[in-house]
């Protein structure tokens, strides 16, 4: 019952955030100095052309009316049309989203498994040489920007070793090898910083748990080290890791924009940058909305997972 109330409250919050987001995105794009029609046509556009486009886009109506028209169309599944490509934005976004999702899912899987695995290894081998090397590696991984990793990866694996394609994308129909070889570098680069982030957190929370009294009790009861780790330490040590994985979903989306640009990978991030470069504002607007919605839902799921794993949150959540 309590879980249902919690769910309902969070769902309402999610809807609120999405509504607010739509106002914010629409507002920034339409209120910031820089006339939309001029942005689309360029600074040398004739006033007549500007007036014509403004009429076509309905830009002369009051803003709240424009917003309402956009939102109601969006809710009915009409995502508008890309100005530059003269194609429905929905199909453009759907295609790009599919490719980004593959990239993100692979990177996220690598982050979750690699990060938690390395963190556990570091915690159980505390103070040994391997642990120290891992800590150093994590420090470097966190501090180096993704786009620089991407450049290094292209330089080493594509330019010098000629092992992998530098940029681009191959559909699965071209064969698993072509598909995978185009995905390998982007996934590795995308995961690099986040693996370190998750590993560091998992290591410190596992150490904290391993030093706790109930683990001491479990050991005193004569349980094997493996059983202590899996049954007693891990479930509690993983809670912070789940939160940080949710936070990392945001960083992952930011990283995707950069990584897709460097590797010329035709996903949603690349599409957004393209929309910005070409001033394709209708496409940009709805693309931003889709990304934000995905992010909000990811956070929502993370919060649910957290609540299921840690009943105390549900009570605390009621007070917040």
């Amino acid at each position: 019952m309590r879980l249902a109330a919690f769910l309902l409250r969070r769902l309402l919050g999610l809807v609120g955030v999405l509504l607010g987001m739509s106002v914010l995105i629409f507002g920034i794009i339409h209120i910031l100095p820089g006339n939309v029609a001029y942005a689309i046509l360029g600074e040398f556009a004739t006033p007549a052309a500007v007036a014509q486009l403004e009429a076509k886009l309905g830009l002369n109506d009051p803003l709240p009316m424009q917003y309402w028209r956009w939102l109601s169309a969006l809710l009915q599944g009409d995502f508008g049309t890309s100005i530059v490509m003269s194609r429905p934005a929905a199909s453009l976004i759907a295609e790009a989203l599919g490719r980004s999702a593959v990239l993100a899912a692979l990177a996220f899987g690598l982050v979750a498994m690699g990060g938690i695995g390395l963190g556990l290894y570091g915690a159980t081998h505390r103070g040994r040489l391997a642990d120290k090397l891992l800590t150093l590696l994590q420090f470097v991984l966190i501090a180096v920007p993704e786009f620089f990793w991407a450049i290094l990866a292209v330089l080493i694996f594509a330019a010098w070793l000629n092992l992998l394609p530098a940029t681009g994308y191959a559909p699965l129909s071209d064969g698993v090898l072509a598909w995978g070889s185009h995905l390998l570098l982007p996934v590795l680069v995308l995961a690099s910083g986040l693996v370190a982030h998750v590993a560091r957190l998992t290591r410190s929370s596992t150490i904290e748990v391993l030093d706790s009294r109930y683990v001491l009790t479990a050991r005193a009861r004569g349980l094997g080290e493996r059983r202590v780790l899996w049954r007693h330490a891990l479930p509690n040590a993983l809670l912070p890791a789940i939160t940080v994985l949710a936070i990392d979903a945001g960083l992952l989306i930011g990283g995707i924009v950069v990584v897709e640009t460097v590797f010329a990978y035709p996903g949603l991030g690349r599409l957004l940058v393209y929309a910005i470069e070409r001033h394709d504002l209708p496409l940009l607007q709805v693309g931003m909305m889709v990304v934000t919605a995905i992010y909000a839902v990811a956070n929502f799921i993370a919060e649910l997972l957290y609540a299921v794993l840690n009943p105390r949150i549900r009570v605390a959540g009621a007070a917040a």
Binding site: V17, G34, A143, P145, L155, V273, I276
Partner: protein, 281 residues
Amino acid sequence: MTAVARSPLRLPSSLVLGAALLGLIAAAAIVGIWLTPYDPAAFAVRDRLQPPSALHPFGTDEFGRDVLSRVLAGAHLSLAAGFGAMAISLAVGVPLGLLAAFHRGVTEELIMRAVDLLISLPPVLLGLLVLAVTPPSLGKTIAAVGLVYVPILVRLTRAVALGLLQEDFVQAARARGEGAVPILWHEILPNAWPPIIVECGLRVTFAILLGSALSFLGLGPQPPASEWGLMIAEGRDFLRQAPWICLAPGLSLCVLLVTVNLVGEGLRERLDPQLSGRAHA
């Protein structure tokens, strides 16, 4: 809050090392605004794409410009992006956080819901959104990055201030009849700054990263500026023939980020020893 009172002699080694390095970088960056081995903007077509040599330690780019000079001339841009953005988030976030803690009710609700909203936009996207419609420039990049970290500082300041408002010394000040401003200024702020500084120290790294990523995407200073992210983006076309165009600013950026990170970790160790065990998301 006794952390501040400890002996100033025991500074963490990472803080000392990081601060020394950061000082060196800052000095080089400031000198580099006016003084570089070559004119960072001067074309020399005959010397284009030269590999590193005694004359050009970092080589030359596709226009024959000296890469070392350009890296030096652009250093202050990355520093400005990181620290400028942090200054903006501090100047906006801390007062809002204090306000939310002090005026519970409608004001708090308004501020915190706005924060919830801003935080639900992934950081790079918030920057992209601000920079999408207007022509990009360094100032706008700094403002956009600053805006990204405002919600985090509001939440942190509010949480710290709420805890402090329960303390006896604040209750005493209230009982003496002191107003909101003196209480916030004399009682809350002096005790709230250590966690805020620690957070900022760690966030500067991310601010520099985000700023350079945005200019890498073409949403920062425009050519012929020698911002490092922009230099890396421009050098990509010559990666095979002249990798030094990308590598020089890229490695410089890494050194700067590691240095700032050292300072941030050092500050955390110095100001908040309880925090050092706990991971910081």
